[in-house]
Structure formats: structure tokens, C-alpha cells
């Protein structure tokens, strides 16, 4: 299965969580990061949680964020980063 995003792409995480089981933490929603790696395609956990098959499988990425992007007022070090796994339908390419 193909994937739309490539390593190094800048992406924005969608906001507006639907009610129910999601695997996208609120603290990354609306934030901009960079694709660190493509993990492969997996059954969608938002469907699996309700006993459905979770198909078609969704591509899972690891996205790297600067801590200063995630937390306004983050003071520990400007070099600190956070990696998180996100499904393709939660990501859109960053504009610019």
C-alpha cells in the first residue's frame, strides 16, 4: 500500500477529535512536526476498538515535534524533541 507522506515532510496534525477511541493525543493536535519514519500500514485502531475490521489499513508514521512547538513556555532546552506515532488520516502537509 502506498503512502502519501515522505520522511522529512512537514505536517500538521488535525484537530477536532471525534468522540470515541482515538490514538492521537490532544497535545499534538494542531501542531506542526516532521515525518521521522514510515512505520507501515495497520488496521485502524479507531475502528478496531468497536469490533470492526479496521480496513482499509491506515499508514502509520512517526512524527517529530520540537518541544517548544508543543508546549508554550517550554523552558528546558530548545533542542528537545518528541516523537509520536500518528495515522495518515490525522496528518496534512504543512503549507509553506
Amino acid at each position: 500500500m502506498g503512502h502519501r507522506l515522505q520522511i522529512g515532510d512537514r505536517v500538521v496534525v488535525r484537530t477536532g477529535a471525534t468522540p470515541g477511541h482515538i490514538r492521537t493525543p490532544r497535545y499534538v493536535q494542531g501542531k506542526t512536526g516532521v515525518v521521522e519514519r514510515v512505520c507501515g500500514a495497520f488496521a485502524n485502531p479507531e475502528e478496531l476498538a468497536y469490533g470492526r475490521a479496521g480496513l482499509p489499513a491506515r499508514t502509520l508514521y512517526r512524527v517529530r515535534f520540537r518541544q517548544t512547538e508543543l508546549w508554550p513556555g517550554y523552558r528546558e532546552s530548545r533542542e528537545d524533541t518528541l516523537d509520536v506515532e500518528l495515522y495518515e488520516h490525522w496528518l496534512r502537509p504543512a503549507e509553506d
Binding site: 490514538r23 493525543p25 497535545y27 495497520f42 502509520l60 532546552s77 533542542e79 528537545d80 524533541t81 495515522y87
Partner: protein, 179 residues
């Protein structure tokens, strides 16, 4: 759920029992063996970083369907693992997670003030080392490959493995030479 799956003949009681027994038998010794071997064999280290599950199998450690990503500490980057949504953990390599790993305090704080949390574990990182938090939100599981401690050059693989604790493979501490 278990009873239903057995009744529908999806799985047998024996399969459930055997799976639980396998999981309960796992300890951090598995992860320590992998780390010590990677310290001694640079080509193995590379294979471990490229394909964690295959590299574990090389040492006779079957981690089943676990999708393992090994993240390497360097002089410039220190890695630490968390699961903010629940308590995802590489049980096949580290055994059962400690209570603090599952606690709300660790899960909420390590993502937003990792250096403060590490300091509470006794880990003081210099400013020129970046902290990289890995939030295990979906299908991947993580293991930190720590830095081999200074002064351990003459130790064999078994002695090295004794230095590799559970906590340093989660990334809240660093291995030190035993006195």
C-alpha cells in the same frame, strides 16, 4: 471476553494459559542481553537499529508480533519512553512495567518537563544533550539502547548485561559501572 472467545472456539483455554505464562516469564534480562550484545558487536548494533524484532530473534529472544523500534542514546541525544494514552511497554523484552510507568503523573509530566522528571530519577543531563521523548501511542513498542558506561571497556558481555537495568532501557536512568 476470554470465555466468549473460548466458547466460539477462536482460541483454547490452553492457548490463553500458555500466552500468559510466556509473558509472565519475561524479565528485563532479555533486553539487557540485547543491549550488551549491541555494545560488543557494532554490526549487530546496526541490525538492531534497523530491525529490532529480527535482531532479538538472532539471540534466541522471540518477541512475537511486537513491532519494536530501538532508539539509540548518543553523546548528543538522550531518549526516554512513555505511553501517554495507556501503558504500552515492550513486555516481551522488559517484563511487566513498573507501577510508576503506568501512573498518571509520569505519563503526563515526562512529555512536558522531561528533564525535571529525569532529575527526580537521579539523571542530570548536560544542556548540550538533547532529550527526545517517544510517546508510544499506536502499534510500535520502544527500547532505549543506552550509552555504554565509561570504564566498562574490559568487561565481557555477561558482566555488561548486569549493568543494563530496566530503567535505563526505558530511558529514565543511564547505566553506571558497579562499584
Amino acid at each position: 471476553m476470554r470465555e466468549l472467545l473460548i466458547e466460539k472456539q477462536v482460541i483454547t483455554a490452553e492457548e490463553v494459559r500458555a500466552a500468559v505464562e510466556t509473558l509472565d516469564s519475561r524479565t528485563a534480562a532479555g533486553g539487557a542481553k540485547v543491549v550488551a550484545h549491541a555494545w560488543c558487536d557494532p554490526e549487530y548494533r546496526q541490525r538492531l537499529l534497523n530491525d529490532g524484532p529480527a535482531a532479538c530473534r538472532e539471540l534466541g529472544i522471540d518477541i512475537g508480533p511486537t513491532r519494536l523500534i530501538v532508539v539509540e542514546n548518543t553523546q548528543a541525544v538522550h531518549n526516554v519512553i512513555v505511553c501517554t494514552l495507556c501503558s504500552c511497554y515492550p513486555r516481551m523484552l522488559l517484563g511487566l512495567p513498573p507501577d510508576w510507568y503506568k501512573a498518571r503523573e509520569y505519563r503526563s509530566r515526562v512529555v512536558r518537563e522531561p528533564r525535571s522528571v529525569l532529575r527526580e530519577f537521579g539523571t542530570e543531563l548536560p544542556d548540550n544533550v538533547a532529550v527526545r521523548v517517544h510517546d508510544s501511542t499506536a502499534d510500535m513498542r520502544y527500547l532505549v539502547l543506552p550509552l555504554r558506561p565509561a570504564g566498562s571497556e574490559n568487561l565481557g558481555e555477561n558482566r555488561l548485561a548486569e549493568l543494563v537495568t530496566r530503567d535505563c532501557m526505558i530511558g529514565v536512568t543511564r547505566p553506571v559501572m558497579l562499584p
